[in-house]
């Protein structure tokens, strides 16, 4: 197995075979997670620190659980509350934590590129848990794992990604990953929620939901990130739901066995119909959560193998 990265900062730097490696490994952790005894010991004695500079419950919980199942000592720092408010810079915070000799930092930050910046200043492995509008690699990996398990493959699929592409790091990481694995990616949403230059990403772009979903194997809904809106991207929630909210009627354009995904947390009645979200025949939203823990364990696994021996071990 080859995985020559010290950090997991984004999908952009990964090769297709590395992605496959991660997913293979994650499959094994899915199995482990379904057993009564859920522990692996690869990270025993290692320290994992979660630094979330942006509010998150689900992702942070997922990383915390993944770390604990891998045997690490896990600490979650409430970054919003503490030092940032006291004016400490990101790099100083990183250096402070680095001095505590963590082995793994899991970082989420509201600014694009901030996690990469931090990774340059520390000695340990860093996992990007989402940076601004840039990347959210473990989300794309868990989505890929879900698709692969449901569809039996991760290539030559038509995947429609719908909603607020412009503000979404989930969309960027997914576009990159699905592209690397040779799938057909369609982006669906109002033009105000499409990033500039998107046509050059090797994707199809449409503003019409029916056309976008036509023949799709996978329908990936994005959260309408209201907290990111400067205001005025869409006229109203109800018009958005009417045109882009996923319901059974719109889903009829997709393949009969198309699966519906959502990174959560959902806005029921804004981007997705509540009944559809709960339809266990179509919706894989709960499965995505399970895959999330497994994928994060796999990511920790490959990074742990590349962790440098600590000074005490070198001396021994």
């Amino acid at each position: 197995m080859r995985f020559d990265h010290r950090h997991l900062l984004g999908i952009e730097a990964l090769r297709p075979d590395e992605i496959a490696t991660l997913l293979d490994l994650a499959d094994r952790y899915v199995t482990l997670g379904r057993q009564q005894e859920k522990h692996a010991s690869l990270l025993a004695g290692r320290t994992q620190i979660n630094m979330f500079f942006e509010a998150s419950t689900r992702t942070q919980a997922s990383f915390e659980l993944a770390g604990k199942r891998m045997g690490a000592d896990v600490m979650s720092m409430p970054m919003q509350a503490s030092s940032i408010k006291k004016g400490e810079t990101l790099i100083d915070t990183a250096l402070t934590l680095n001095a505590m000799h963590p082995d793994l930092l899991v970082v989420r930050h509201p600014h694009s590129g901030a996690v990469a910046l931090l990774s340059q200043k520390v000695n340990c492995a860093v996992i990007n848990a989402g940076d601004g509008r840039h990347e959210h690699p473990t989300q794309a990996l868990l989505d890929a794992l879900t698709i692969r398990r449901r569809k039996g493959r991760l290539h030559r699929l038509t995947v429609a990604i719908c909603g607020d592409i412009a503000h979404s790091r989930v969309a960027r990481s997914n576009i990159l990953l699905l592209h690397k694995m040779e799938n057909r990616v369609r982006l669906v949403g109002p033009p105000t929620l499409m990033p500039a230059g998107i046509e050059d990403f090797g994707v199809e772009v449409t503003h019409d939901m029916a056309r976008g979903l036509e023949g799709a194997d996978v329908v990936m809904m994005l959260r309408l990130q209201r907290e990111r809106m400067d205001g005025g991207f869409i006229p109203s929630e109800r018009e958005y739901y009417h045109r882009y909210g996923l319901d059974a009627e719109k889903l009829a354009a997709a393949k009969e066995d198309a699966i519906v995904m959502h990174p959560g947390p959902m806005n029921r009645g804004v981007e997705i119909d509540g009944t559809l979200a709960d339809d266990i025949n179509r919706s894989v939203i709960q499965e995505q959560v399970e895959m999330g823990v497994a994928v994060r364990m796999a990511a920790m696994d490959v990074l742990a193998r590349n962790l440098r021996a600590r000074p005490s071990e070198v001396m021994a």
Binding site: I91, S112, G113, L117, A196, G197
Partner: protein, 439 residues
């Protein structure tokens, strides 16, 4: 405006290749300097001048290197008052001298802003005391650069302000701007604007396009530059003010500029060394030393801007020298400060365009020296008898690798750290006195 005492002994620079932006030529020749001015320009490399007129120790053999009028750099930020740890008049002057810049035209976006005759007098005194090159200050157009009330334009002109600008803070209230421009027009004052539609460019850190979208950076369309320029040109038509747009960096803005000039409006435009030599992709993995304002553009834009400098549509090129300390750059890209230092590096960096045969040297020095001097009503920027002896002697070919820690500026925020460059300043003369000599 003379920073150094006039040198009484003459100097003769022989065997030089003279870059004459007025005549648009390069020719072999010699230059005689007397009393701080160019006394005579010879068309022969070794003119026959008796040693009782110019003693042999006052002769300098240029060995076929280039001699050009010194650079007049409009829009230099010296961080006095307020942030002297980033750049002082001493260090800015040293950096300028080492870069062949003989006149720096300073920005008023200091803390506090240069918006009263008293603060202007303070920096003029500081400059006189410690700077080796000519320093001409610009003053703020509105008090505190807040875009609400015009400054004392008349008093500031009397105190030596050569132009009025709120720098990168666009005056959003068009009524305020129109009145300031009307008042300035009555005094013949030059307004330097930052063409940008501030609503559209709010919060932006990059130019919209594939690259910025991949990086997830907040962006602005280059169209915002054209909108800003269009508004400012309309105000020129309305008020009769004299306008210089500080940086035109987008191809989309060029037709507006061309139209304004064709219609005979008193409008000129500049661009920056960075927009001529770098594009948006240079930001790569969020390298904050490449964050400038306006943000770096596409390669197509860069090519169009080079072409506009070549044809003269864009009049001036400047360094937009903006010192920033390490702390303000060691931040996530969106939060990091904008700007780069350039006084010392501008000439070697721009010589890239000469080596790539995109811009001939006379056209380069027309934009670096002649046009900015003309726009400010200065006699310098020319290689002709009677002009001030503000000169730069340089070797256009000498290769070197730039080490940012060797820069004379207090701040080391150059995007060209580690870059392979060709071209070195050998000597800089201000009013006939050597203010810089290469080792």
């Amino acid at each position: 405006m003379t920073p150094t005492e006039l040198r009484v002994t003459p100097t003769l620079i022989t065997d030089a290749r003279l870059i004459d932006p007025e005549a648009d030529t390069i020719r072999e020749g010699a230059v005689l300097i007397e009393r701080g001015a160019i006394a005579e320009v010879f068309d022969t490399p070794e003119p026959d001048i008796p040693t009782d007129r110019v003693p042999s120790e006052a002769r300098r053999d240029a060995r076929g290197r280039f001699l050009a009028p010194g650079i007049v750099d409009i829009g230099v930020k010296v961080c006095e008052p307020g942030e002297r740890h980033k750049e002082s008049y001493k260090t800015a002057g040293d950096a300028a001298a080492a870069g062949g810049v003989t006149t720096i035209v300073t920005r008023p976006d200091t803390d506090p802003a240069i918006d009263t005759p008293e603060t202007l007098e303070f920096i003029r005194r500081r400059a006189r005391e410690v700077a080796r090159v000519h320093v001409l200050p610009m003053a703020a157009l509105t008090k505190g650069r807040e875009g609400r009330e015009m400054t004392e334009i008349g008093f500031l002109m009397d105190a030596g302000a050569v132009a009025f600008t709120d720098c990168d803070r666009v005056v959003t209230d068009t009524k305020v701007l129109s009145r300031a421009m009307t008042y300035a027009a009555g005094l013949g004052a030059l307004i330097v604007s930052h063409p940008q539609e501030p609503g559209l460019s709010r919060g932006a850190a990059a130019t919209s396009g594939k690259f910025a979208s991949l990086r997830g950076l907040p962006t602005v369309s280059p169209m915002a530059e054209r909108m800003g320029l269009d508004r400012d040109i309309a105000l020129v038509e309305m008020t009769g003010a004299r306008l210089h747009a500080d940086q035109i960096t987008a191809a989309r803005a060029l037709p507006s500029l061309q139209r304004a000039k064709r219609n005979g409006f008193d409008v000129t435009a500049g661009t920056s060394m960075h927009h001529l030599t770098l594009n948006e992709l240079d930001v790569a993995d969020y390298r904050t030393f490449f964050k400038v304002k306006p943000p770096l553009r596409s390669e197509d834009d860069r090519q169009a801007i080079i072409d506009a400098v070549k044809t003269g549509l864009i009049d001036t090129v400047s360094s937009m020298h903006t010192p920033q300390d390490e702390e303000s750059k060691r931040l996530p890209f969106e939060e990091a400060a904008s700007g780069a230092v350039g006084l010392e590096t501008m000439l070697p960096v721009l010589l890239r365009l000469y080596h790539s045969e995109e811009l001939p040297l006379p056209a380069l020095f027309r934009a670096l020296s002649l046009n900015p001097a003309r726009r400010l009503g200065l006699d310098t920027g020319r290689l002709a008898a009677g002009a001030p002896a503000d000169l730069v002697l340089f070797d256009a070919d000498k290769p070197f690798i730039l080490d940012r820690f060797k820069l004379r500026s207090k701040s080391k925020n150059t995007p060209f750290d580690g870059a392979r460059l060709q071209g070195k300043v050998l000597a800089t003369y201000v009013a006939g006195s050597p203010v810089f000599e290469a080792d």
